[in-house]
């Protein structure tokens, strides 16, 4: 594996369910370097979790079907590993934190045991050593009275506490890649900020790369080096976070930005993108955003490829790059709201 190869290189990942005719994740390509943080943003149901689960080999197949794609991670294609190889990677080199802290821990097992188990599985250390590691990790995620918490059950902890425990579990083996699927969505606002802070700090210490899934642009601004915007199963825009925020190119990205009061619409008015995501059985052949796009043109019936137009900044829209400045939301979008 060449030294400068990215840590993770996803190419053309497509997923569909059962006999459906459309891909719920369609031709997704992403790359991530060591230590980097990539945020995937997009509305609910756009395929963020499916993408993450596919990487972890956690999609239930069937009904899910991998239609195409490779995901090169440390020299191996995650999507074609045998179950046993996959089991050796996940929880060790690659770990995941889930969206639902309340249900993601096993209610019948002590929290300490659940963390220590991950360590024992991959590091082959003694029970005591694994327990010590679990204690370390609980301290690291700043759970008060960690010795006591080791022997507690998940139901004795709050949601924020449980998510911290999940983070401790995921980070226990110093993974090279951490996938966090909306780790704070289910938490109180104040707790959200603490957990994000914590994750960033842990990531700095361990030099893990991270894929953070979110639909909160505030989280992107705070955490990301790179951002990928997803719409209806496809990546529509991706690039360094500063570039995408300052110079969004895809009409959907622009819409997203302007729906965020602090970034787009300076008047404080919340702008939403008119229309709805087309249902899976009525997905257009070409650009999937066409039904909601104020700039739609006949050519959009052909799917636009991702084109890089600035260093690392790529967009899938026939009209890009826009010649006109897009500092303010375009009048068509703002007006229609």
């Amino acid at each position: 594996m060449p030294e400068d190869a990215p840590l993770l290189q996803i190419t053309d990942l497509s997923i569909r369910f059962g006999a459906a005719a459309t891909n719920l994740v369609d031709g997704v390509s992403l790359s991530l370097d060591r230590g980097e943080t990539l945020c995937i943003v997009g509305e609910s149901g756009c395929g963020k979790s499916l993408t993450a689960l596919a990487l972890m080999g956690l999609l239930p197949t069937p009904p899910a079907r991998l239609m195409s794609g490779t995901a090169m991670f440390e020299g191996r294609d995650l999507l074609s590993l045998s179950l046993q190889e996959l089991q050796n990677v996940r929880g060790d080199r690659m770990a995941m934190i889930f969206q639902e802290p309340m249900t993601s821990l096993n209610p019948a097992l002590k929290v300490g045991e659940q963390i220590a188990e991950a360590v024992r599985r991959h590091k082959g250390v003694s029970r005591d050593a694994a327990r010590n590691r679990a204690l370390d990790m609980l301290q690291k995620v700043r759970i008060p009275a960690p010795e006591k918490r080791l022997d507690e059950y998940p139901h004795q902890m709050s949601g924020g506490m449980r998510q911290r425990a999940m983070i401790a579990m995921a980070m226990a083996n110093d993974p090279a890649l951490l996938i966090a699927d909306e780790p704070t969505t289910a938490l109180d606002v104040t707790v959200q900020a603490q957990v994000l802070d914590l994750m960033r700090q842990l990531q700095d210490e361990s030099a893990s790369a991270m894929i953070m899934i979110t639909h909160d642009l505030g989280v992107v601004a705070e955490m990301a080096d790179k951002v990928a915007v997803m719409y209806a199963g496809r990546i529509v825009e991706a690039g360094p976070v500063a570039a995408v925020f300052e110079n969004p190119q895809h009409p959907y990205t622009i819409g997203l930005m302007s729906s965020m009061p602090s970034l787009g619409d300076r008047s404080g008015k919340l702008v939403t993108i008119p229309g709805i995501v087309p249902p899976a059985d009525a997905m257009p052949e070409g650009c999937r955003f066409v039904s909601r796009c104020p700039f739609a043109q006949p050519g959009c019936a052909l799917a636009p490829p991702m084109r890089e137009f600035d260093r690392g900044h790529a967009v899938a829209c026939w009209r890009a790059p826009l010649e006109t400045g897009v500092d303010a939301p375009s009048p068509e979008i703002a007006g229609a709201a």
Binding site: F98, T103, L105, N106, L109, H122
Partner: protein
């Protein structure tokens, strides 16, 4: 936990009283005269009158009840009208036999039902699942007496592997005791295995979909650990509850099987007592069964608490 048990036992007391009243009155409403049954060929009115007086059968019903229940509270279930033995002794002799049968049946049922249930949930929709369900359905629909007779014919008469009937107490000749009990236990166990299999399957299906099973897989644990440690631990709650309740049912349900295999257990005692209008014995047995049933219910609840950390502190 102790507080919980105490509470449950207190709540059970009115139930037991109600059952005792019910059993007592029902007995009295049945046709047939126990005195005639007792006296046998004797039809001398004086003898009959004497017997009536002796067993207080002329007292008002409620007096008879209080007399009986008063004895019960002191551990005296009365005397068999037929054999003149204390009912408690009779039950004490026969109950262990039936308990042995029920325990063996339950073990067989657990060893067949739980693994098949796990497998069929894990392989849901495959031929394994189908096969397990078909076998379970047959297990439920084949009558015990038929299966018992077929087994006797095949295993004992044709193959001569196991004795067709007879009984040896576990304490005297354990090997022979198990040999004679294994067929009836199997017959009793099959129906249970089917019930357990279906409960295990549905409990596991629910658990296998849960987020924490996904977490366990995300940790890189192998499927054996995911299923047996993470999933089964949680599915165990309903399984153990059902198994405990089934055990209570087994004690009562062994009658037919004991008849087929001529095992001198509780079932035989019941049948003999009912046919001979041996009131005291029938009452004692029903009361014992009811108490055992309630005890099993309490045990099931206790197991539920022990297995379920969320319930432990309450």
């Amino acid at each position: 936990m102790l507080g919980f048990l105490a509470r449950r036992i207190l709540i059970a007391i009115p139930t037991v009283i109600l059952i005792s009243v019910f059993v007592f009155t029902l007995q009295k409403l049945l046709p047939g005269d126990p005195v005639l049954a007792m006296a046998g060929e004797e039809r001398d009115p004086e003898v009959l009158a004497f017997l009536r007086e002796k067993y207080r059968l002329n007292d008002p019903l409620y007096m008879q009840y209080f007399h009986w229940i008063g004895g019960v509270l002191q551990g005296d279930l009365g005397i068999s009208l037929r054999t003149r033995q204390p009912v408690l002794t009779l039950i004490g002799e026969k109950l262990p036999v039936t308990i042995q049968l029920a325990v063996m049946a339950l073990i067989i049922a657990v060893f067949i039902g739980v693994p098949t249930g796990i497998l069929s949930a894990y392989r849901k929709g495959t031929w394994i699942d189908w096969l397990a369900n078909i076998v379970a359905l047959s297990g439920l629909s084949i009558p015990n007496f038929w299966l018992g007779i077929m087994l006797i014919l095949l295993v004992s008469v044709n193959l001569g592997w196991l004795p067709a009937s007879g009984y040896a107490p576990l304490s005297e000749d354990p090997l022979r005791s198990i040999q004679t009990m294994i067929m009836p236990a199997f017959v009793l166990g099959t129906g249970l295995a089917a019930t357990l299999m279906r409960h295990t399957r549905s409990a596991m299906l629910g658990v296998l979909k849960s987020d924490y099973v996904r977490t366990a897989r995300a940790k890189g644990l192998n499927e054996r650990v995911v299923i047996l440690k993470h999933a089964l631990r949680n599915a165990l709650v309903p399984i153990v509850t059902v198994a405990t309740l089934l055990f209570g049912e087994l004690l009562a349900g062994a009658v037919l099987t004991e008849q087929i295999f001529t095992i001198p257990g509780f079932g035989k005692l019941v049948v003999d007592a009912v046919f001979n209008r041996d009131y005291a014995v029938v009452q004692g047995i029903v009361l014992c069964t009811a108490v055992a049933f309630i005890a099993m219910n309490i045990l099931a609840d206790a197991a539920y608490r022990i297995l379920n950390p969320r319930m432990r502190d309450t």
